[in-house]
Amino acid sequence: MSLDSGPSGPREPVGGDLVRRHALATRLWHWTNAITILVMLMSGLMILNAHPRLYWGHYGSDHDAAWLVLADMDDIAFPGWMTIPTDYSLADARLWHFAFAWVLVLAFTAYLIWGLVRGHIARRLHITRIEWSPRHILHDIVEHAKLKFPTGAAALDYNVLQKLAYGGVLFVLIPALIASGLAMSPALDAAWPWLVDLFGGRQSARSVHFIAAMALVLFFLVHMAMVLLAGPVNEVRSMLTGWYRLPRDKGEAP
């Protein structure tokens, strides 16, 4: 078993056992992220209300062709309950967005360093050759679709879909949001022209920023659905306290 040993001593943990599942660093990062990303999403939607059109390339304004028009120019795209603050204020939304950007970047960097140095990320998220095989991935998808989740000791390891989702957030979505966010800064573009070139222009960076944010929302929705299906009390407790009760097999006696 690749995990820290449970309270039950050296024997292989079985369904019903309470085991330590999440390290303190993971739990801290998880809840910091939950708040930070929600604040950044809601303030970001307010920012987008100021100009609810997205373009590709270096430039783009009312006179240019937009690939996505979320609202007419004198309308807002996102209602008050979705935004921070509730009432229209681009200036205040920017204050929130840019202050929490520091929290996001510092927490992300700290977690990444911790996870790589301690081998945690390699242990939990490394996808093996076998797991990469289409048959294996397909099998996991089918199991998920049937809402059949692993039980007993098998529930301790992330399955390949979880690894893909968490790895995607950690190594693709959050870095893409940070890089595209910084690429929208005219000051940093002067210092680091390669950054904005990575995206093919400032308006492309803005579009990528939005797409990555929406992908994160999609992750969040699926994440919530999975937590609800897998047993929300046990799951939330494990992310708060670290302790997780291994699910039993259907046939196992309680």
């Binding site: 929600l38 604040v39 809601m42 920012i47 987008l48 100021a50 100009h51 059109r53 373009y55 270096h58 430039y59 783009g60 304004s61 009312d62 006179h63 240019d64 309950w81 921070i84 603050p85 509730t86 204020s89 681009l90 200036a91 205040d92 920017r94 204050l95 929130w96 840019f98 202050a99 520091w102 910084l182 929208m184 800064s185 005219p186 000051a187 940093l188 573009d189 002067a190 210092a191 680091w192 022209p193 904005v196 400032r202 308006q203 803005r206 609800l228 929300p232 009390v233």
Partner: protein, 251 residues
């Protein structure tokens, strides 16, 4: 009523969402909290200043230019004195340079046009999110400041403009680092034609590493100051005073 676990969860989620929203609004209304946010936000200025050094904003080619350059902010100046100058092709207009300088100046448009010119095709980024690429020409601000000669305690360059918004005079300010940056010019030409009124005739500031709200239009007077305190709302510009935009407009 029996409260099922699902009910409780749903209620809990709605409650948490509501709390978060009203909580954020309450925080947003708290001057102390907003001060804190702005304080953390100021780290962007410190970090970006350290990173950008004297780097130049990218210059584009004519092929990259926006077909239509959006005009924003004040599009028309109501002041009768300004309208008279506009009618006269700004032949009677002069740019006043004063404050903490050795030699206050009154420069007619022809004097600005006779100085060494810089032409640059750059990207303009509005705080709202859109960008436009245009071509600008004019003398470097640094050369004008050098001609006036700065007093040792001069720290900020303030641009007093002819337009009013919400009944308040428009102004903006930058520090001396941006003021002496080689791409910082007083543009009187845009896209190979004299600046039009919606774009800030007779001259507008181009400070290329900053957002659009810094690019002051209809400039009448340049004032060198030691501090921004005591000037209008004290935050260094109309948008800073009246909307809470950050003085550092690098992001």
């Amino acid at each position: 009523m029996i409260v099922t676990r699902r009910h409780a969860l749903r209620l809990g989620a709605a409650g948490a969402g509501g709390l978060l929203l009203s909580g954020c609004d309450a925080l947003n209304d708290s001057a102390t909290f907003k001060h804190g946010l702005a304080g953390v936000g100021r780290l962007h200025e410190v970090a970006q200043r350290a990173i950008i050094g004297d780097s130049l904003a990218r210059e584009f080619t004519e092929a990259d230019m926006s077909p239509v350059f959006k005009a924003n902010g004040s599009l028309r100046v109501a002041d009768p004195a300004y309208r008279a100058l506009l009618e006269g092709g700004f032949a009677q207009w002069t740019l006043r340079v004063d404050g903490l300088v050795h030699r206050p100046l009154d420069l007619p448009l022809s004097a600005l046009q006779a100085m060494p010119q810089r032409t640059q095709i750059t990207r303009h980024d509005c705080v709202e999110g859109w960008s436009a690429i245009g071509k600008w020409q004019g003398p470097q601000l640094g050369a004008i400041l050098a001609a006036a000669g700065l007093l040792p305690n001069a720290r900020f360059v303030v641009f007093h403009c002819a337009d009013k918004l919400e009944g308040k005079p428009f102004y903006e300010s930058i520090d001396l680092i941006e003021a002496f940056h080689p791409q910082t010019i007083l543009a009187w030409r845009m896209n190979d034609a004299p600046l039009t009124e919606p774009h800030g005739a007779p001259i507008r500031l181009r400070v290329e590493r900053q957002l659009g709200y810094k690019q002051a239009k209809f400039i009448m007077r340049i004032e060198l100051r030691e501090s921004l305190a005591g000037l209008y709302g004290g935050q260094g510009g109309f948008w800073e005073d009246n909307r809470g935009y950050q003085w550092w407009a690098g992001i």
